[in-house]
Symmetry: C2
Subunit: 366 residues, 2 copies
């Protein structure tokens, strides 16, 4: 049996690798789109295959509320439920508890909150998060961590790191307790926090990496942080994460931010940007990639009136269904009449842009 | 060159036939889905091909407003604009003027209204409608008619029939004036009106069929009419329309209404029901068809909580992508979280149901 993660090549800090799961291999550096509620919004599984999507991300918090764990249990996990047979990574639910949940309270035991739909009071503990991720049956589970507001005090961050560490230990124990639900081969990743404080990032790193996780993530980089702070954190921490395990930067980002992450030694990225921005008409195109330091791309808004009579595709060099079949003029029209097909065609294109970007990066690192 | 319409077989009044257009043949009896604004809502062209869609319907009124005739002119017609190379039928715009337009006034010249989006005052004449349909480049154009409210008086209906007749003559003249824009082979259909008054239907029939149209439609059957009145009109008029030309019942209907129409001798149907109802979760399934008088099907609402743990497809015997890949439980979930993918998967299924229904009808008539 091969190990979970293999590094095939390196250029400076940047790594080319492969992750092996029981639902297939994914090549790194890798971008993961959000399949928040069991679907990458607007796209069918066939659409995902058409752009060589390797792995998708499910949100435990959202899935817990709808369809609920009972449904996922009876459907034998999320893979079967959504009919996706590739790898799935799930978050812990923590991020949404902090961004969507109401009246939250953090105790040693876990996070108490009211869900954003029904208002039901829920206690999410590290153990419960792992138990739910076992029901979901994801290939990579994330531990519950406290997502601290970026403007919190130094002392709050420090205490939080200790709590997150104790939660991480409990999560790992739960993950490795031998209880198999819907997937006998689930990996579990720890998360380094610490905000923008260099010494706290180092402190969190030393605590979390002392635990025997299958991979490590950097958290708290996507939310309300400046671009400068994000880059500082990745550069500080990226390459200090264990060499032999995959490194995951949570919730990032724009193409140039991803490239910056790769340069810092990160292997895995996820973000709502390509999908959410597509639904708002913001399109990535015209990628020219020579190296991690020499590249360019365009960002256009398809709603712009200058595309009204533009009968060329979004991107002459893109091989996605949208670019092979439709013009900017038509896509602008669908967007302006809010047609659902338009959202799908634009989402497909943007995700294919990200897939091509990652492919170019991997080719460069080979 | 073959003629436009060929009857291959008959069973009582019901006819099996073929319509030849420069964008391909479509077999009748035939159902046409609405591609209102240049897209069958939620579905790509690839999706339409996957369920053997023969022909789609464009709404001249909507296309006039968005994207506008200037865009359609520069894109060399709707086929190229939406990248659909099969046949297209367009309505005259009249129906939407009467249902969506504001402050409308009917004069001998045409219909004056304010469009429902910008409030711009527009005069739609029979000639302008045909001119726009020439820009659209549809394979079948419809004449502008007055769509009279079903509760109007007998005398209003009678006057309207005379006006609609004069408009029909002007439309035909415009259609046959030799001016080719984006499609050299456009057919044009006249429309029989008359509401629920038998003698007025006969009167309208005799006037309209005295003109040399390529086909004939029955109008005013979809809007605010009782099921009883609809059936009465089709049975009265259906088989009195010229034998050698295609017959089109506008805006109808549910599967059993379509079967009733076929029995009355109608060849072509269009309706928003399969697509709009799909978006609301109403699903057609489990078709059992032996003959035009011996058939059954189910209508279910996928939002029903009883499907929460139902891991079977919508329809065991359906070959659409949705039924081959997804369970009721998953579709119910997507519907309950208002996911766009759900709307697409349900739309695809419902349209495939209609396609299978028409296929069964044609097999029976062969």
């Amino acid at each position: 049996m091969s190990s979970f993660f293999e590094i095939e090549n390196k250029k400076e800090k940047a790594r080319l690798g492969k992750c092996y799961t029981s639902h297939g291999v994914f090549k790194t550096p890798c971008f993961i789109p959000d399949a928040t509620l069991g679907a990458v919004k607007t796209l069918s599984i066939e659409d995902l295959h058409s752009i060589n999507m390797q792995i998708v991300l499910g949100n435990t918090y959202h899935l817990m509320i709808r369809p609920g764990m009972e449904v996922l249990e009876k459907s034998l996990g999320l893979h079967k439920f959504m009919n996706w047979d590739g790898p799935i990574l799930t978050d812990s639910g923590g991020f949404q508890v902090f961004s969507l949940g109401k009246i939250r309270k953090i105790t040693e035991e876990g996070a108490i909150f009211r869900d954003h739909l029904s208002g039901n009071k829920i206690l999410l503990t590290p153990e419960k998060s792992i138990q739910m991720q076992k029901v979901i049956g994801s290939d990579i589970m994330m531990v519950l961590d406290e997502c601290v507001a970026s403007d919190s005090s130094y002392s709050y961050f420090k205490e939080s790191i200790d709590l997150t560490y104790r939660w991480a230990k409990r999560s790992l124990t739960e993950a490795r307790n031998g209880k198999i639900v819907n997937n006998p081969d689930q990996k579990v990743f720890g998360i380094v926090q610490g905000g923008k404080y260099d010494d706290l990032r180092e402190y969190s790193l030393s605590k979390i990496t002392s635990l025997d996780f299958d991979g490590f993530a950097i958290g708290g980089v996507s939310v309300g942080e400046s671009r400068e702070d994000k880059f500082k954190v990745m550069n500080l921490i990226g390459d200090k994460l264990p060499e032999d395990k995959p490194r995951y930067l949570m919730g990032l980002g724009y193409p140039d931010e991803i490239i910056e992450g790769v340069k810092s030694g990160i292997d895995i990225f996820d973000c709502v940007i390509p999908t959410r921005n597509a639904r708002h008409g913001q399109i990535f195109c015209n990628l020219k990639f020579n190296s991690l330091d020499d590249y360019s791309y365009d960002v256009i808004n398809i709603r712009n009136s200058k595309y009204r009579f533009d009968f060329s595709p979004l991107d002459e060099n893109c091989d996605c269904y949208t670019c092979r079949n439709h013009t900017k003029s038509y896509l602008r029209h669908l967007k302006s009449v809010s047609d659902i097909l338009g959202m799908k065609l634009l989402t497909l294109h943007n995700l294919n842009f990200y897939m091509r970007l990652m492919e170019e990066i991997r080719r460069y690192l080979a």
